[in-house]
Amino acid sequence: DTAVSQTPKYLVTQMGNDKSIKCEQNLGHDTMYWYKQDSKKFLKIMFSYNNKELIINETVPNRFSPKSPDKAHLNLHINSLELGDSAVYFCASSTRERIYGNTIYFGEGSWLTVV
């Protein structure tokens, strides 16, 4: 009964490949996110998405794209992988029932290594 689950947990792939990381939440939340944690442990928002709008951090390369088949899923697609994409990617979700502020829950992370 994991609240936010990501697969795969570990992914090693070659430069130039296209890969996807899947995320599912069973909390009934209406907003999902992708965060990237770099080698210095710095966490940065990549995307937030609910059924009405997608907000993209302007620093995210367009090789990265979120895809949401339904409210409970937000998958991350990465095209033409580069060495600098190596990082831990965290999926998260929250509810926006309260307009000002909400508690966010993270998945366990997906360790991506590009070689």
């Binding site: 996110y33 966490l43 937030s48 307009i99 000002y100 508690t103 966010i104």
Partner: protein, 109 residues
């Protein structure tokens, strides 16, 4: 954008000691959360605390929104408290959290 600064960046404690971690932010926020990232990389939500004081067992947190800071108190620390503690804030109707660089805590037996 909002700047989030955490101090100290590193902290080493003996088991049983108490500690205070600080988070300063540069603008008004309506969302502030504290997280613990354990040595296995899991991010655990500790507190949602845009203002006021909350306690959960040996942990407590206080946010003084008017002065733009939050404090996380850890009492009687245990080795399992080791890891990185992050403060994160957001403003407006979006929940996109901006994270500080974290405080790395090591509790020695």
């Amino acid at each position: 954008g909002i700047q989030v600064e955490q101090s100290p960046p590193d902290l080493i404690l003996q088991e049983g000691a108490n500690s205070t971690l600080r988070c300063n932010f540069s603008d008004s926020v309506n969302n502030l959360q504290w997280f613990h990232q354990n040595p296995w990389g899991q991010l655990i939500n500790l507190f949602y605390i845009p203002s006021g004081t909350k306690q959960n067992g040996r942990l407590s947190a206080t946010t003084v929104a008017t002065e733009r800071y939050s404090l996380l108190y850890i009492s009687s620390s245990q080795t399992t408290d080791s890891g990185v503690y992050f403060c994160a804030v957001a403003r407006g109707s979006q929940g996109n959290l901006i994270f500080g660089k974290g405080t790395k805590l090591s509790v020695k037996p």
